[in-house]
């Protein structure tokens, strides 16, 4: 098991952002973490990265815990987050050079050029970050995420700011990586069609708790409570939005 999350809970004062969440991600699969705004997706990912400490529960990545093997674990994975940005005065190339150094990438110049081309921003190399559009910044973030050939990718809304063509490109890269290298991916998205197409399995989160897991079709059937032959996550989503977590879980 590449990722094992057990009974993870996070509270801020009296507010519970994540409640008793457990799940696993198998090696080589693409798992989707989906749910309404404020459901706790980003909080879970940040706890997995050690950026936020949980009140209870544990996270094991590659069979290890961040408390004891932080450096080793983080060397083998990478991530994007809507809460990250880059120093704005540094150019695209400079920022990627810094992170290539941190991840100890061999032949950083070649790796960076390859990624810049892959994500279609080769011509922006010398531009300071402050002059980029949000979609371009997202692409730089993706380049950073692939620098160390990660075995595990945690991607928080990686396609949120991308135009349709770039989104297609990114999805193709992710699927290709999964096939060619067996990269494991956990990612969040509000684009339900994207999730249906990409994910082997989804974890449906609502108000801090997981209310359904399974393939997109399984989750659709279980939450809509009827037999379906095709996934309809958007419908599921709209159904969930009007419920309290207790109702949702009892269903």
């Amino acid at each position: 098991m590449l990722v094992t999350v057990e009974r993870l809970t996070k509270t801020y004062g009296k507010f519970t952002a994540v409640q008793d969440v457990s799940f696993v991600v198998h090696a080589g699969e693409i798992a989707g973490l989906v749910g309404p705004n404020g459901a706790g997706k980003t909080t879970i990912i940040h706890m997995m990265l050690g950026l936020i400490s949980p009140n209870a529960g544990s996270v094991r990545l590659f069979g290890k815990s961040l408390e004891t093997d932080r450096e080793q674990i983080l060397q083998r994975l990478n991530f994007t987050s809507p809460y990250m940005a880059f120093p704005v005065r540094l150019t695209v190339l400079e920022n990627l050079r810094v992170f290539a150094g941190i991840y100890n990438v061999r032949d950083p110049a070649a790796k960076i050029n390859e990624l810049l081309e892959q994500f279609g921003i080769g011509r922006l190399k010398k531009k300071p970050m402050s002059r980029l559009s949000s979609g371009e910044i997202t692409r730089v973030g993706l380049c950073k995420a692939f620098l160390n050939d990660p075995e595990l990718l945690l991607l928080d809304e990686p396609t949120a700011y991308l135009d349709p063509q770039a989104a297609v490109q990114v999805r193709a890269v992710l699927l290709d990586l999964q096939k060619s290298r067996g990269t494991t991916i956990l990612y969040t998205s509000h684009n339900m069609h994207e999730v249906e197409r990409m994910c082997d399995r989804i974890l449906f989160l609502s108000k801090g708790s997981i209310i359904a897991t399974g393939t997109p079709i399984e989750v659709t059937c279980s939450i809509l409570n009827e037999d379906r032959s095709a996934p309809a996550l958007e419908e599921v989503f709209i159904r969930i939005a009007g419920r309290t977590p207790d109702e949702a879980v009892s269903n």
Binding site: L51, I52, S81, M84, P87, R89, F99, I102
Partner: protein, 262 residues
């Protein structure tokens, strides 16, 4: 600690210095302005003849060394604030980079910047005010070392406070050293403080360094006791700073402040 990661932090801050003119301002502007103002003041003082010998030299030496301490503490905190402003913390602290590697890299860059400031100040004092600091440098170096160590400890404390209180605390980055100044006996000897303040002042490594500096300048002798006491105090402050930082860092992590700036 891995050297290549520390090097990457140095690289990151070097790029920042290259692109951001503010750093040049901090690095040379204040040392130059300070030494010019105080330098003219010493020219004025030299006209009178009631002055004890060495007062002028002590004044200029103090301006330069205090400048170093102040710049070091400030640049460390500002270097870190830059990560906060640019929301770079998420990428940094979810990478294999450790906090101690980060801080080490930051110290190296800050030290280089502070040395530029120190040299510029000393050069101007030598060229325009006939104050040759380089002559006494070998004897001053131990006290400079203690100033730098204390500045690092204070830099770590301020950085911890910024982690925990984020930008609400950012003004302190520029002014924290100022709190210590009245008690650090920069321009006057410890003996001129009211007696109830002396015990507090004497447990500051800055006070020990400036007392030592005055002894070097006035009598040409090196006071091993001021150095040793300063070093011992620094050790204590260092241990305190590291625990304090860990505490602030964990508090920030549990409140989600590494991710969301306030």
């Amino acid at each position: 600690m891995k050297l290549y990661r520390i090097r990457s932090v140095i690289r990151r801050h070097t790029y920042e210095v290259i692109h951001n003119a503010n750093h040049i301002t901090y690095m040379v502007y204040w040392p130059v302005v300070n030494i010019l103002v105080w330098g003219f003041f010493t020219l004025y003082l030299r006209h009178g003849d009631a002055l004890k010998p060495g007062v002028v030299s002590c004044l200029l030496g103090a301006v330069i060394l205090w400048g170093l301490f102040n710049a070091f503490q400030r640049d460390m905190a500002v270097g870190f604030l830059e990560e906060l402003w640019s929301r770079n913390l998420v990428s940094l602290f979810a990478s294999p980079l450790s906090v101690s590697e980060y801080v080490t890299g930051l110290i190296v860059v800050t030290l280089a910047k502070a040395m530029v400031g120190l040299s510029v100040g000393a050069l101007i004092a030598w060229l325009f005010y006939h104050y040759d600091m380089f002559l006494m440098l070998p004897m001053l170096l131990p006290f400079i070392l203690n100033l730098v160590l204390f500045a690092v400890a204070m830099g770590i404390v301020v950085t911890g406070l910024i982690f925990r209180y984020t930008t609400k605390f950012q003004a302190m980055a520029w002014s924290f050293a100022g709190i210590l100044m009245p008690l650090s006996c920069v321009f006057y000897p410890l003996s001129s403080l009211p007696s109830f303040l002396r015990p507090i002042a004497s447990i500051l490594p800055t006070t020990q360094s400036f007392e030592g500096m005055r002894e070097v300048i006035e009598s040409g002798g090196f006071s091993i006791s001021h150095f040793r006491l300063g070093l011992g105090l620094n050790l204590i402050y260092f241990i305190f700073a590291i625990f304090f930082f860990r505490w602030m860092f964990e508090a920030a992590r549990s409140r989600g402040l590494l991710v969301k700036m306030e």
